[in-house]
């Protein structure tokens, strides 16, 4: 109370200047101004799912760009023996999965067949016996996990004299046995793939009606059925031999490693080693192979590259065309707009599949399949983009700042480019990004339906891979699994990324979720 009483007469010395040395004025912002793109980037960064999606897109892009360069294989690579082998990864195979094995149900003969390959090559074919059942007739059936690589086993190849010599030198150098003795298989009717090159063991019943069961010695081992020197036409051989083969020193067991025929030498080789010899690397297909023996991993990357290339080109062209068309429509309005809208509507109403088909029929011979597909996408693709830009122009052209610019004498071109267009840029970028998965989907659909045919010896597409794999869906689902997985991840990522972009470019959402 007493303080209040003294309010009227403060002593002079109690007063002090708050500010004496410096002059007061507005302080400039120390921080940098947040521009449109920075603002968008800040909002985009907060959207976790969109960031993750962006990372996935980058990974898929890297996959498409890098893999064709570093892969051992290319699209042209086809292997007649490693057809439809299952996915195998060297790293994961140690842990018992992703090891290229497939479950088979086999009779005794089939089991013997696989086991014999394993015995001769030293690489296990039957990884595991999961089940053993007897049917009503008392015949035993095995459920086996069979290595789809190792089961190829042996094949016959025809070599020239020179080639035969080189292969022997390779054997001497590396100490790896590639050439194995030929077999007396002419009486065997039981042939199971590879023209019977894997029947090196004696069969229980060698008649033509043989059921293919193996004959075992008293120790339960296979008994070999190799061709010996008693047979004529055998070629000179001076390289690695089987352990029980003395090379004729004791005058008895001398196996035939090559047989002369019209064109050169018929040789029986361990295909796994032979593959390494001819190609220089181990046969491992990360995603398996298709029915042509192509590496799915590499084909997928090549197909993805094609898809991305097409989609990005289409998106860029449509972006340009749509922006120009939409800007003119939206800015000038009136009759111009009406006529241009009509044209766009007519083009937009033609079903895309019809356009693609017509272009294919007319242009494919002149500009190629890909070129005509590109034209088809461009012809109808810009319509949506133009509509979006047009709407943005309608929203902004009547605003006061545009009027101000016009009053100051800005030309139409300047107003369009400098004043209105930047407002539409967010919509356009979002639209362009969201157009990419659409193009990729349409392309895969069209090539799946065989309306366009992108498959040549050195070209493939995701849709083609799906179409080729469909017949094997039951038996070899991996052929469809990987392309389908790729396209699913791609579509999901692009959708999430596009949604993130749309929110990021929408300034009205600024600080909405803080």
């Amino acid at each position: 109370m007493s303080n209040n009483m003294n309010m009227t007469n403060f002593p002079k010395e109690k007063f002090q200047f708050a500010q004496k040395d410096e002059r007061l004025h507005d302080v400039k912002f120390e921080t940098k101004a947040i521009g449109y793109f920075k603002d968008a980037w800040m909002r985009f960064r907060k959207n976790k799912s969109a960031v993750v999606a962006a990372v996935f897109i980058v990974l898929l892009l890297l996959f498409a760009i890098i893999v064709p360069f570093v892969s051992n294989y290319d699209v042209q690579f086809r292997d007649g023996y490693y057809r439809t082998v299952l996915p195998k990864s060297k790293t994961f195979a140690q842990f018992g999965f992703w090891d290229g094995s497939k479950t088979h149900r086999e009779s005794q003969a089939g089991y013997d067949y696989f086991r014999a390959i394993g015995v001769e090559t030293g690489r296990e074919v039957v990884k595991k016996i999961t089940d053993e059942t007897k049917d009503a007739a008392g015949i035993t059936y095995y459920t086996l996990k069979v290595d789809s690589y190792a089961k190829v086993g042996f094949v016959y190849v025809n070599l020239t004299a020179d080639g035969f010599q080189k292969l022997q030198e390779y054997q001497n150098e590396t100490g790896i046995q590639v050439i194995y003795p030929l077999q007396e298989s002419y009486r065997v009717n039981y042939v199971m793939g590879n023209m019977g090159a894997n029947l090196w063991y004696k069969l229980a019943d060698p008649r033509s009606t043989s059921d293919g069961r193996a004959l075992f010695d008293e120790n339960g081992n296979f008994m070999h059925n190799y061709m010996t020197t008693a047979n004529k036409n055998h070629a000179g051989y001076d390289s690695l031999r089987l352990p029980n083969d003395t090379g004729g020193e004791d005058g008895e067991s001398w196996f035939v490693y090559g047989q002369r025929n019209q064109s050169g030498y018929k040789v029986r080789v361990d295909y796994y080693e032979y593959f390494k010899y001819t190609n220089g690397f181990e046969p491992i297909f990360l995603f398996g192979t298709n029915a042509h023996g192509q590496d799915i991993f590499t084909c997928l990357a090549a197909g993805a590259r094609l898809s991305f290339l097409l989609a990005i080109t289409v998106s860029l062209i449509n972006f340009t065309l749509g922006a120009i068309y939409g800007a003119i429509e939206g800015y000038y309005g009136g009759v111009t707009d009406m006529i241009m809208e009509r044209i766009a509507e007519v083009l937009g109403s033609v079903p895309f599949i019809v356009v693609a088909t017509l272009f294919q029929m007319h242009l494919a011979k002149r500009v190629g399949v890909l070129g005509s597909l590109l034209f088809a996408f461009v012809l109808v693709g810009w319509v949506g983009m133009a509509a979006r830009v047009r709407m943005q122009f309608y929203r902004f052209k009547r605003q006061e700042y545009v009027l101000a610019a016009r009053t100051l004498g800005a030309s139409d071109r300047r107003i369009i480019l400098k004043h209105i267009f930047p407002n539409a840029i967010g919509t356009i970028i979002t639209g362009s990004v969201l157009a990419i998965p659409g193009v990729i989907f349409s392309e895969s659909m069209l090539s799946y339906l065989n309306i366009i045919n992108l498959e040549t010896s050195s070209l493939t597409s995701v849709g083609t891979m799906l179409a080729n794999g469909q017949g094997y869906l039951n038996t070899f689902p991996h052929m469809i699994f990987f392309p389908a997985l790729f396209i699913s991840i791609l579509e999901i990522s692009f959708n999430l990324f596009g949604n993130g972009l749309r929110d990021a470019f929408n300034p009205s959402l600024r600080g909405a979720d803080e």
């Binding site: 509507e345 007519v346 109403s349 033609v350 079903p351 599949i353 019809v354 088909t357 017509l358 029929m361 007319h362 998965p437 989907f441 895969s444 659909m445 799946y448 339906l449 065989n450 309306i451 799906l466 469909q470 869906l473 039951n474 689902p477 469809i480 389908a484 396209i487 699913s488 579509e491 999901i492 692009f494 959708n495 999430l496 949604n499």
Partner: protein
Amino acid sequence: MGKYIVKRILLMFLTLFIIMTMCFILIKLLPLPAIREMGRDVNLILAKREQMGYNRPLLVQYFLFLRSIILYWDWGVGEQMYEALSVWGVLTTKLPYTVMVNLYSILLSIPLGLIFGIYAALKKNRWQDHVISTLVILFISVPSYVYAFIVQYLFCYKLGWFPLTVESLESAGFFSLRMIRSMMPAILSLGFGVIAGLTRYTRAELSEVLTSEFMLLARTKGLTKAQATSRHALRNAMVVILPMIIGEFIGILGGSLIIEKIFSIPGVGSLYITSINVRDYNFFMALTVFYTTIGLVSSIMIDISYGLIDPRIRMGSRK
């Protein structure tokens, strides 16, 4: 409103006419398919082509084409496939399969989509909503053929629940259990995407309506949450959702080419693909017109239904 509808329909016919003309000319500019000579009289075919006016000027041919459609509803006959059978006749025998698959899948999807959407909107920003929204993004993005592969592999091959091919109409009829069972894989594959789309749409619309002020008013006047939602929020959300459903219903005629191919359904889609592969231009032309018309009609129906459902949106009524 009436004026607007008439205007839209007239414009539709104009657009259709332009597209038809373009397609007709483009198709006629293509070389005629070579005559397969095995067991045929080449001269007879050439004479037939002459008689059908294939050697006359393009515009005359187009005039003849339009006249036969308008006067006799005659779309020509098959030349490379279904030889000498009327194009329209073949189309109408194929249509039921396409319609059936899509109709069943939509009838299955609409209730599910609505239920999920409503549920997600009511539980907005809670875990139920997050789960549904995440699934929706997944299911909307993954292409329908991927579902088709999964369904075919799992249900047809591994579990053996459904047959691999669709029963024929003659033996099974429209509504038999056998028919539905054989179409189930296709129905499922088509359904996932529709359910996800509808869920997303319903959730977005309903959650917007739920936050509007008249909902608060409805609650203050004493309605329970369920009453307010069903009587006010849902009705307002339906204004936007219903046109989408109507659009879907017309779209079912178009069907899905890729699903028809995967499950080898003998529908319009397969007819179209075959007509391209064997170069039967009469079928190709008719189906082009068919698909274009469906697209145009469905977009018109969506626009008009907005006005019909909600009197507040009567486009062009004041013009």
